[in-house]
């Protein structure tokens, strides 16, 4: 399990570390995570697109009973965030009391530890949202 995940996260480093998605040249629509095929076109011409690094909470919840790798972080906010690029993505909200996690909250993305299996495992990094 750990080995499979290490390889997957490694492959996904551009999107997890630098929020790199892609853009359909024909329609201008931005995709994150990046897609090779888009609705209605299985072979679109895509270009790399770096998300702007900010967004707004459009849906959210508070996780109080967290799955194992996140137990020590509970309670924490989890939100669907819309970026100025027209992308909606899911991210943890960090460094904020959960009562302040609300629709309309303006956020920016920071580089954070996402999880680790245990004290001896690989540490997985990526983006989380913090209030602006």
């Amino acid at each position: 399990m750990a080995d499979t995940l290490t390889a997957r996260v490694w492959r996904e480093q551009p999107q997890r570390y630098r929020m790199i998605g892609n853009k359909d040249k024909a329609t201008g629509k931005v995709y994150f995570p990046p897609r090779q095929a888009v609705p209605g076109n299985l072979n679109p011409e895509m270009e790399e697109f770096n998300l702007s690094g900010t967004g707004e909470v459009v849906a959210c919840t508070v996780i109080r009973v967290a799955p194992t790798p996140f137990t020590d972080l509970a309670p924490y906010g989890l939100a669907v965030i819309e970026t100025p690029d027209g992308v909606k993505l899911t991210a943890q909200i960090t460094d904020v009391p959960v009562e302040d996690v609300k629709i309309g909250l303006k956020v920016k993305f920071e580089f954070r530890r996402i999880f680790e299996d245990n004290d001896a495992s690989v540490i997985y990094y990526g983006y989380k949202a913090v209030p602006m």
């Binding site: 630098r18 960090t94 920071e110 580089f111 954070r112 530890r113 996402i114 540490i123 990094y125 989380k128």
Partner: protein
């Protein structure tokens, strides 16, 4: 060809713990600690922050100011004594996260609290030698201090990153110096959680002898006097030591010359980040023509010294990233000792 800093950035966690909160747990006399060490509160990393994440944020801010293509950064060095891995570099993750590309010479440095200035020193040397157009040096720590030990009142977290180059230099490096001796005042053996220190031995024979050794050499080599400098910054393990070192060198500790880069009373000791964060706070406000005197200190023991001259270019990039001092003063979240112990993984669990 002028070589110097072309971009800088700092990252400080939002969490704080007051000295009184720690003292209350251990039955210590908070007023005497505050008076004796000039420490009031310190930063604490969130559970999802470490040397790598703090370095990434500081580096991104440095890149915003430098305005360069990150793939042209030829070397990236992080100085720290709290790298998340014992074996696996912090620098590769940081380089990947800021988009350095693959042709980057990457290394993690260690030399107690001067690992950050060491990274800056080598990064500057590469550019000066003409080996690469840009190089980055980072000082970062999520410092360790054993529960109840004097270090617990100071050990804090933060990072500062500096990109060196030859185009659009915001602060030229005019002089450098390094001074070292085999002085075992503070150490941490392999597999130990917390560092040990030699109590009062960390003062005169270690911090002061080393810091002043470098500072006096820097003054002599540069042919300058304290009054020639707009700002000075020293390693700051507590509030008192840098104050005393600055005074012994002839700087005015009651003026902005010293106070702008003096962060420890409210930040704590960010170990490898300490003097670099002080420099970052100075660059945030420095004016063209200002001279800056910087001397780091790392136990074991050594000091790196730099003389910088701020250029006109600083006005063009200063506002491109967040300043250091507001990160320290604004939007703070105070922790209880219990939360602090959990965040710093001081509570033993079975899982």
């Amino acid at each position: 060809m002028a070589v110097g800093i072309i971009g800088w950035g700092a990252d400080i966690p939002r969490n704080r713990i007051k000295l009184e909160t720690i003292a209350a747990v251990w039955g210590a006399d908070a007023p005497s600690y505050k008076k004796g060490l000039l420490l009031f509160e310190k930063s604490v990393p969130s559970p999802d922050q470490d040397v790598i994440t703090l370095s990434v944020e500081a580096s991104r801010y440095a890149l915003l100011r430098a305005g360069i293509d990150p793939t042209l950064i030829g070397a990236l060095y992080i100085g720290s004594e709290s790298h998340p891995y014992a074996v696996k570099p912090s620098g590769t993750t940081v380089a990947e996260a800021i988009g350095c590309g693959h042709f980057t010479h990457c290394a993690d440095f260690e030399f107690a609290c001067k690992a950050g200035s060491e990274a800056m020193y080598v990064a500057h040397s590469h550019v000066k030698a003409g080996e690469m157009p840009y190089a980055m040096g980072i000082g970062a720590d999520t410092s360790q201090g054993a529960p109840g030990d004097a270090l617990e009142y100071s050990a804090s977290a933060g990072a500062a990153a500096f990109i060196f180059g030859t185009d659009k230099v915001v602060a030229t490096v005019d002089h450098t110096v390094s001074w070292m001796s085999d002085t075992p005042d503070f150490w941490r053996r392999e597999h130990e959680h917390y560092p040990q220190h030699a109590g009062r031995f960390t003062g005169e024979p270690a911090y002061f002898r080393t810091t002043l050794g470098a500072a006096n050499a820097l003054m002599e080599n540069s042919g300058m006097k304290p009054e020639d400098f707009a700002y000075c910054v020293f390693h700051q393990p507590n509030g008192k030591f840098p104050q005393r070192a600055a005074k012994m060198m002839g700087f005015d500790i009651d003026s902005p010359q010293f106070k702008v880069g003096w962060l420890t009373p409210w930040l704590g000791n960010t170990y490898s980040g300490a003097s670099p964060l002080g420099l970052s706070a100075i660059l945030d406000v420095a004016k063209p023509g200002d001279k800056i005197f910087m001397v780091s200190y790392g136990s074991g023991a050594g000091s790196d010294g730099f003389v910088f001259t701020v250029t006109d270019e600083i006005e063009n990039v200063r506002n491109n990233a967040p300043f250091t001092r507001p990160q320290l003063d604004d939007d703070k979240h105070y922790l209880s000792y219990g939360e602090y112990a959990k965040y710093r993984r001081k509570i033993r669990k079975n899982s």
